[in-house]
């Protein structure tokens, strides 16, 4: 099965990017022309470094201490006990939903008790 021009170009670009030859037997004229444009892009699309003043200013701004959100303070001891690799979002969601359900049940039970004790 013959490959599409998109596939052939992708393979040729990968080859050149890995330091392989710019053209090999089997590359047709269409691909060679596009590779030529790719070569032009590779040569002329130069890395433009961030201006020094901007880089320093942004770096300083990012380094400024920021107060952590209140809930992160509360979660601190728990986060220290559970290493990053062992944290599971599903488990966290289950614990959170469980807590919400427990609060909701507590509220319902409290209201029922109040209703039962209220004078007619």
């Amino acid at each position: 099965m013959s490959r599409s021009a998109e596939d052939r170009l992708a393979r040729a670009l990968d080859r050149v990017q890995s330091g392989g030859p710019a053209a090999v037997a089997g590359d047709d004229l269409e691909i060679l022309e596009l590779l030529e444009t790719g070569g032009y892009l590779r040569e002329n699309l130069v890395r433009v470094p961030a201006p020094g003043a901007f880089r320093r200013e942004l770096g300083d701004w990012l380094a400024r201490p920021r107060p952590a959100p209140w809930w992160r303070e509360l979660m601190g001891p728990l986060r220290r006990r559970v290493p990053v690799s062992a944290r599971r979002p599903v488990l966290g969601a289950a614990i959170g939903l469980g807590a919400v359900a427990a609060i909701a049940l507590g509220v319902v039970a409290l209201r029922r008790r109040q209703a039962a004790g209220a004078p007619l």
């Binding site: 998109e6 170009l9 596009l34 699309l45 890395r47 433009v48 961030a50 770096g59």
Partner: protein, 187 residues
């Protein structure tokens, strides 16, 4: 051209440790910033064609990355991939706002740098104008491939498209660029 460095397994592991250190102590984020600020600025600069816009995109990218650092989960790819993804999304959102104000020639930049050299060169001007005519998604793919030095699979993961879609975008973009840039320029 300096592409985003391909990391060895040991370098990747060192970067994972650096990210985890930054999660514990945000001061260490400065090391990640120093590692990637030029790459992100350059990507933003070529994407927007404006120094001011590139600074805005770069600042917002690192601000968002720092904000979301505590919840970041390592997936075995360089941290730069996340930064490129944020930058591409910021650029795309900025495009929907009124156009950026360009610095005119009468207002020289306070610190002439390599970008001025790139802009003033004929090849830089021609390429910049050709890139500006590409649709956003095609320009993103071209910059990630030729400036970021990424492969299709990496670009696909980064922009959330299939590898086939990335191949098609690359093909269409290079074909369009070939048409825009004259044969004389390319040769």
């Amino acid at each position: 051209m300096r592409e985003m460095k391909r990391l060895s397994a040991a370098e990747l592991d060192a970067e994972r440790r650096l990210v985890e250190a930054a999660q514990r102590d945000p001061v260490r984020f400065g090391e990640l910033y120093e590692r990637y600020v030029d790459a992100i600025y350059s990507f933003s600069y070529h994407h927007t064609g404006s120094r001011q816009a590139a600074e805005e995109v770069t600042a917002e990218t690192f601000e968002r990355a720092l904000k979301h650092l505590p919840g970041y989960r390592w997936r075995g790819v360089p941290y730069g991939a996340l930064l490129y993804r944020i930058a591409a999304s910021v650029v795309s959102r900025q495009r929907r706002r009124p156009p950026f104000l360009e610095l005119s020639d009468a207002q020289p930049a306070e610190e002439p740098g390599p970008e001025e050299a790139w802009l003033s060169a004929d090849s830089g001007r021609t390429l910049r104008s050709a890139l500006a005519r590409l649709p956003d998604d095609q320009r993103t793919v071209i910059l990630l491939r030729f400036e970021g030095g990424m492969r299709n699979a990496e670009i696909a993961r980064l922009i959330g498209r299939s590898e086939g879609a990335v191949k098609a975008l690359t093909f269409r973009a290079i074909t369009a660029l070939r048409g825009t840039l004259s044969r004389e320029v390319v040769r």
